[in-house]
Symmetry: D3
Subunit: 225 residues, 6 copies
């Protein structure tokens, strides 16, 4: 269940028997041919599935992340790192104040990882809470799927091309991986990456996508225990 | 159209012929029997309707606002004022950087109004942009509807009880308005307001709601011109 | 009594029998023909009158507020919203630390309202204090006076033209109200508003001004109880 | 002339022939038997005298400074250092934006000195402005007066006991200087300093005070050239 | 050459023919039996070796990083994430202001990675500079060494046990890897990790260490080109 | 002993019998012909000598300070004042969290003094700790040495020209003191000060330097008691 389908009395009742909360953290940024909200939709869909099985509540999605390198691609809306730290802290402090104790951040975007350490600082000041941070594409179980099929996970590539993130036709031919060193600024990044995909196939078969999704979902179910 | 249904190439094409953007700013807070995301759903629904008529794009919703007084109601997730200022600035600077010029913030929550002045500071530093800020329940046209029906607009009351914000049955009897002076802290606020509604009827007929919605939509269409 | 006429021992004695403090919050900004410190002088004069009747102490005035829209009018000195939040928090925390418990912020400027919610955040962390926020020109009692005389309250107009805010002769003819939508930046604002007054008469008779002042003073005396 | 006695048109006229501004920066803190606003009143009185001779305008006083060590003395209202930096930056950027070029900060309080370096950072970003910072009690000319009379300048002692800072009778006997090492917190500071004066005579003759005032005024007149 | 062995004239001369700068970013945190400054000493030693071959200058080391999880181990001195972002920005802006154009951050600590994205934001505002970020233990070339010897790289384990980071005898037996999920707070972290090492051998032979060092040095030399 | 030569177990053992910590705070800025890290090396050398006699531990040096006026001299790397406040707070809170109670900040740079008041704010929130702040060149004992030899202490002059801060030959002739009023920005500062020294002899005999060093060391030993 998502917060948006509940009122406060529902949450109060929930807290009488549970203290877990999933927080979907994404980004609004270029994903080549995929939806600008790919990084929200993937963890949101995983969260919905996990909630269905466990009943754990889902906070409203944080629809923006840290994407300064993509700011020359129209549609990217990037928070400064310092802003994201504050947003995540405010959400967790608000929820901890009424009794939530175990938090699982379902992160959809690599640029947000700097917020994880900040949440340790928050956890140091609220010693009764526990926070887990899960970035699905970095997990061992998803890596096992990609290795099994001899595929590498790259930004905006096959691994993010779920049915629910597609908003346009995808190229059928793979893209030569782009090799970059250094931290490119937004202008260089657009020049280097062109359509915004980082390399490899744009799409794979539905069965592989189902394997990826199941692997991530299993991780989340495990983390919720 | 919402960003989430587009990819960056779609936005780039849009910017060749338009430079307007609607930003839905809400809150995640107690609304008595209504959805915790009432303040998102109302401006989002208005924005969707306005977009359908005008084609103006809609950025992903900001799902959190400034609600410190409601922090003792489970489900309220409040940003500090300083956090919200940064979020709004980051979104507008990101969009202005790729060519958006005219912004309409569709605000669903009174506690967010402090961000409006901050956006003037942002506008001073980006003199080629224009920002409008619209809080539907404070508009003259919606006030005209409420006065016509001899109804006052109060938090979580009839004026927010659209079909799309209801997640539970609503009381049929009106509530005696609560009279408060001073800035109450979160504990006092919960004690004072009980179920969280501020007074008056919890619901009115669909025709009145349609009038309210149409009045706000007309305002937005006018502001988008 | 104002702090400036006291030493710390006087305040210590006061705190043995009272715990109330008035804080005058203003702005330094264009008020057309009126004093640049109009927004300080009005709440200060009300505070002085209220203190005379009640003995409640008055902190030194905050002489600057949030006025980004007026920055192209020479003499406007505007704090960023984030700065004002910090100033108000620091003052209240300092005073709460030595025993003040009940605060009444006498606000003279609309752009400062964003600080009110921040003070709720402060109050959440200091549960033994109470804060009231009073913006005289937004009060029901002052509205009753203006409605009785069929006058609208506009920036730098008749309602702020007390004897103690006048520093030059005032135009005798009213000004056609300026109609604006959107959040104008500082350059547009100056172009739109010319002399800086927003519309209506520049001045009215002394009896009306006395009514306005008395209405606000009565409000303050009531809030101090 | 002070801003409070002018409107924006007066300032605009002034800027056609001058670009100097005096900013009075004080503190609201214990000064033993003297006014809580001693650190405002002294630089304000100097500024008024200098303005009378030169016509240079005076911005509204900053009535609060950085006084964390005195927070256990009732009546002290202290800004955090970070807050003061922002306040001073905002004032100077506002004034520089409409044409002020040469700023003289008349500082009345030692705890504010950290803001001076921050103003250099501001000046680096606004290369057309010049800022001077004057702390009267640290000047060579005032030191010459105190040495001539074999007096040391200590907090809340004779050198601050002008007629216009006295709000109560002063002890006739000098106080044994308090010797302190380290940065004391507020509790220790109150224990160590008792009435808040740091040592030496509480008052001296009017002629010496006139010499001190004249020395500081001459400094300011020189800095304004 | 390090800045500390130069004066400003030396740097001015250097900038006539080069515009590269290495910045050593470390941490002061528990490393089990190894030096508290292990994360400084490793990148510093690599930088010194690279500078010897290339002549590229080295800025003074940033001796503190983001280590909130280790705050219950005495000797850990952790910056908040927000603080580190500011430190790195200030250093790079200072150096860019006098003509440095190509920066290589030699990072010794995983908790600092959040600063990398912030530097992209800085690079967006200074489009003439280029920044590279190198975390030696995450590089492909060092991974190749560890895989060749069938060793995993863990905090405070063999891969950090250079001669120049050892300050005490090391255990001869390997440690069973500790398995952790979630973001542990500082108290849990100490309980979980005991001596602070994360698992595997505490030390390996000098030849392997030389291979690791050479791999990292080669990377750095390549990045400096 | 310095932290870098210890591991966390050593610090834990130390804390069983002592709770003092020296923190070396410097700057990376132009010192004319002297090392860019002169302001680190002097307090570090004093700290090492004091530690040798007392066993008090030394935290890693803060290698950067607030030097905005010198930003046009290549090699100066300046923190904003606000950044330094955070760095110092983070270090002290980290150390206080594991049992350090008495802190001695050995400051090498005048521009850092604004951080001292911020540390009083920190101390107010951690009432069990004590902080001392020592700027060697401002001490009475060092002043006595300079007066005895009829020498004035100026930036980058003789008093900083220890054997361990020299990285180039020094001019044999003294420099005419530069007279400046106001807060100069970085461009003016470079124009005014040329080589960066502020006036007087560039060097004096070793015996005087030994006297200076001993005076400062004695101060530190006294403060550590």
């Amino acid at each position: 269940m998502r917060f948006e389908d509940l009122n406060w009395m529902d949450v109060e009742n929930y807290l009488k028997q549970d203290d877990r909360l999933m927080i979907v953290l994404g980004a609004c940024e270029q994903h080549a041919y995929l939806s600008l909200l790919t990084d929200v939709r993937i963890p949101q869909t995983i969260a919905d599935a996990a909630s269905k099985q466990t009943g754990v509540l889902i906070a409203p999605s944080v629809n923006f992340g840290v994407s300064p390198y993509f700011l020359q691609y129209p549609g990217t809306l990037s928070l400064r790192t310092s802003t994201l730290l504050q947003v995540m802290e405010d959400i967790i402090r608000s929820a901890a104040g009424v009794g939530f104790r175990r938090f699982l951040v379902l992160n959809g975007h690599g640029g947000n990882n700097g917020a994880a350490d900040h949440l340790v600082e928050v956890a140091n000041s609220l010693p009764h809470i526990k926070i887990a941070w899960y970035s699905w594409w970095e997990s061992n179980s998803v890596a096992a799927v990609s290795m099994k099929h001899n595929l590498a996970i790259e930004h905006a590539g096959w691994a993010e091309a779920f049915s629910f993130t597609q908003v346009a036709d995808l190229p059928s031919e793979p893209k030569l991986p782009v090799k970059v060193t250094g931290l490119s600024n937004a202008i260089e990044t657009r020049r280097l990456y062109g359509d915004g995909m980082f390399g490899g196939p744009y799409q794979v078969g539905d069965e592989i996508m189902a394997e990826v999704f199941q692997a991530a979902l299993d991780d989340v179910l495990h983390l919720l225990e």
